[in-house]
């Protein structure tokens, strides 16, 4: 028995463990999601987090130990943000013809999400550090952390809020869109995908991509637009207050 414990301690202390566990748990969660016919509640990110979080808790593994391996996956978020130029480029003809409308929708949605978050937080009496960290929550996590840091909020809180926001969007978008009467025609898929990319960033965009390829493409486009407009406007807007 002690041999096993020693082996576990050794494995858990190398970066291999965090990397391997993340990849395998995610693939299992993805297989489960496919088997559940992509039901929103079976979201692969959500279940990966639950399983990995429970695993770390049960084995008493510290988060930094896990992250030593998982950072290799985390690191790819940077190049992935750069890669968002690709879907923008692919849709450049539509973007050039209707850029005003897309930008207006992205700014309106982003402002509504950020504004309502800060307004509600203020109304409910949450501290200002929390309020400032809530502002960029609809932007993808690595960018949100950067913005929160520049605003004087907390980057780790911003990452928490961004991930929870993405999950809320991915889990509840379907009934919400049905309630609003957003259809499943070409315009409907555009509105659904674009809204998920704008208000629920990468996790929402990934959900859109799994549901319908068109919705996914619009979500990726919205994600790219949101990153640029939010990075541009939130620091400016914060200066007025």
């Amino acid at each position: 028995m002690t041999d096993f414990v020693q082996l576990w301690v050794y494995l858990a202390s190398t970066p291999l463990f965090g990397l391997n566990a993340t990849l395998v748990v995610y693939l299992l969660a993805l297989a489960f999601y496919t088997r559940m016919r992509q039901a929103p509640w079976a979201n692969p990110v959500l279940w990966s987090l639950v399983v990995l979080g429970a695993g770390l808790h049960a084995t008493g593994t510290a988060y930094p130990t896990y992250f030593a391996g998982a950072q290799f996956i985390h690191f790819l978020l940077g190049p992935a943000v750069v890669a968002l130029a690709w879907p923008l480029w692919q849709r450049r003809a539509e973007l050039r013809a209707r850029w005003g409308r897309f930008t207006l929708a992205a700014v309106a949605g982003g402002a509504a999400a950020a504004g309502s978050a800060v307004g509600l937080a203020w109304a409910l009496g949450l501290p200002s550090e929390v309020m400032l960290s809530l502002a960029p929550k609809s932007v993808t996590a690595p960018v949100a952390m950067g913005i929160a840091d520049k605003l004087g909020g907390s980057p780790s809180l911003a990452a928490v809020f961004a991930v929870v926001t993405g999950l809320v969007g991915a889990l509840s978008a379907k009934p919400l869109f049905a309630l609003l009467g957003i259809g499943k025609d070409a315009t409907g898929w555009m509105a659904r995908g674009f809204a998920l990319g704008t208000a629920a960033h990468g996790i929402g965009a990934a959900r859109a991509l799994q549901v319908h390829p068109d919705a996914g493409a619009w979500a990726a486009l919205a994600l790219g637009l949101q990153v640029v407009t939010a990075a541009l406007l939130i620091p400016l807007a914060a200066r007025w207050f």
């Binding site: 987090l49 996956i73 790819l76 480029w89 949605g109 982003g110």
Partner: protein, 115 residues
Amino acid sequence: MQALQGLAILLTLQSAGEALSRLLQLPYPGPVIGMVLLLGALRWQAVQVRVQTVASFLLDHLSLLFVPVGVGVITQFGLVAEHGLRLLVVIVVSTWIGLAVTALVLRRLMKTTSP
């Protein structure tokens, strides 16, 4: 080979973005500037063919990339629990407002002016 070259292009532009962000003290994170630089560079076909594979791969598996941060969220859940239900209400309601406003505004704009 092309995928590897594509990755090198993404990393180079990200580094250039980080350098510009720091040197010019811009309020934008490095990867965002890298994305704008790539949008300009995609006019060249040599860049297109190399970036295509690796960009599609990264974006297809985007949700995996959030897992390491997300696990941190679970271990940091005390931060959220500290402010309790109020914080959760703020996040859920503002996400719904953001989704609804974006979808309704875009649908309205597309309906009024497209033939």
